[in-house]
Amino acid sequence: MNGSLRLPLLILFVLGLVAPFLLYPIFLMKVLCFALFACAYNLLIGYVGLISFGHAAFFGIAAYVTGHAAKVWGLPTELAILAGTLAGAILGLIFGALAIRRQGIYFAMVTLALAQMVYFFCLQVPFTHGEDGIQAIPRGTLLGLLDLNNQLVLYYFVFFVFVIAFAIILRTVNSPFGQILTALRENETRAVSLGYRADLYKLLAFVLSATFSGLAGALITIVFQLAALNNVHWHLSGEVVLMTLLGGMGTVIGPVVGAFVLVAIQNYFAQVGAWSTIIQGAIFVACVLVFRHGIVGEIERWRRRKAKRN
């Protein structure tokens, strides 16, 4: 791991441990779920350079499957989460196999259109209960031991899962596999000429990203005990792009920061009509025009420039 990252990560970890005593745990769990979602998304946009506009599909389908498994099938919580995550992975495989046939903006349009198809699927099939969604999903107990209805227990469970998933993503990015992904982003033709099967690596990265997005969707379902249509809506696909962009694409902790800021904004403006949408749009425009490296990206650049001067 990059040495300069050790301190910020440690600080974040300690903050995560004490946070439920300082802030409302449900808000924090929402942040953690979206942070995981954004990290999964960042894997694709930040390291492979593929821009997906359909990631809500994985998040949402996992939410529905988790909810259905926990409520209707009566599966224990950990198995329900696993089932949801698996659903995200399978959908990722299907999407990925289709979408990697196109590049750049076409890739964005294809993923958006496929996700819209999933949205209509979820609107129409009976098990999702249409506009009502799956409500009153039981949180259950963890491994039959810990009661997840206790908010603190639930928080530390979500935090634990987040840390594990984050570690796996970090390890992936810094592995030889991650290096190949970066090579594909920088110069695909050259990577192919070196004998790497570009499409296979892209597909793997896509499925990995979809899997972790699914995990995030599964977790949030247990937290809010609800799986509804807004989890598969294109608005959410846009929000995860914004979290990543705002925090810093291709940075390790950027998506976490972006998720925190955006969830905080949503919480604050939830009561005042469409303002949350307007502000999100304005941040998008501002990020693209003057702030392309995001919060963490700009800090990193600033530190690097300072180091160079000294």
Binding site: I51, L98, A99, R101, R102, Q103, G104, I105, Y106, A108, M109, V110, L112, A113, L114, Q116, M117, F120, F121, L123, Q124, W234, G238, V241, L245, G273, A274, W275, S276, T277, I278, Q280, G281, A282, I283, F284, V285, C287, V288, L289, R292
Partner: protein, 295 residues
Amino acid sequence: MFEALGIPPQALFGQLLIGLINGAFYAMLSLGLALIFGLLNIINFAHGAQYMMGAFVAWLMLSTLGIGYWPALLLAPLVVGLFGMATERLLLRRLTKLDPIYGLLLTFGLALVIEGIFRQIFGVSGQPYAPPASLKGGYNLGFMFLPQYRAWVIVVSVVICLGTWLVIEKTKLGAYLRAATENPTLVQAFGINVPFMVTATYGFGVALAAFAGVLAAPIYSLNPLMGSHLIIVVFAVVVIGGMGSILGSIITGFALGIIEGLTKVFYPEASNTVIFIIMAIVLLAKPTGLFGRAA
């Protein structure tokens, strides 16, 4: 024959008409997207919001200034087109040298802002907009009833689409445009004001979306979110057709509208998704799209 299929002819032709109308909107919107993409290399995510703006500007003109449908059909696209040109000059121009992805992100943000503002002012419930008095009647064709206004929408959209295509393929202006799409630097060296052409093209594409919005206003109820679903379908249309050809995007637009309408008759459950399914099949068979050129 229809009775044998168990489908009343009124339902079949009724859905065909709806499909044709939807197809007209797909064609006009994907035409604008293709034009903008050709010259600016940007996918205009705000296209749906600009379509919605066209409808709302026409409605506002009627409700506050008393300007009727016919003048609004010209004025609203003009207003929204000028707004588009300003957007291009002030915002999009700064992204010229960057990855086209940033154009997509910027216009996405723009779409959120525009829709948010309209939602904040007008709410999400629909506003009615009556068709002009001169087009209120209909024709009885024997097998179905054809409202005059819908016939007008189909005719005018075909004329606009083919007109645009003719201008681009057959006139000197169109030749400049096609040349600038291929090699802007060279065209500029010949003394043609390419930056202005870029602004004008974006303005025209946006005006086309707004024009479609005014046409749509009497058919669908006005709603700040009316463009956002439509634009996603249009993206699928664009992927299916490929953006290499203007005529291709027009034909694909109409054809997919009709297919969608027919699906509503034969298998209504799939009518919302059929275009996306076709997109998936096209991606498997011909990734560049039906009329697209290899990148």
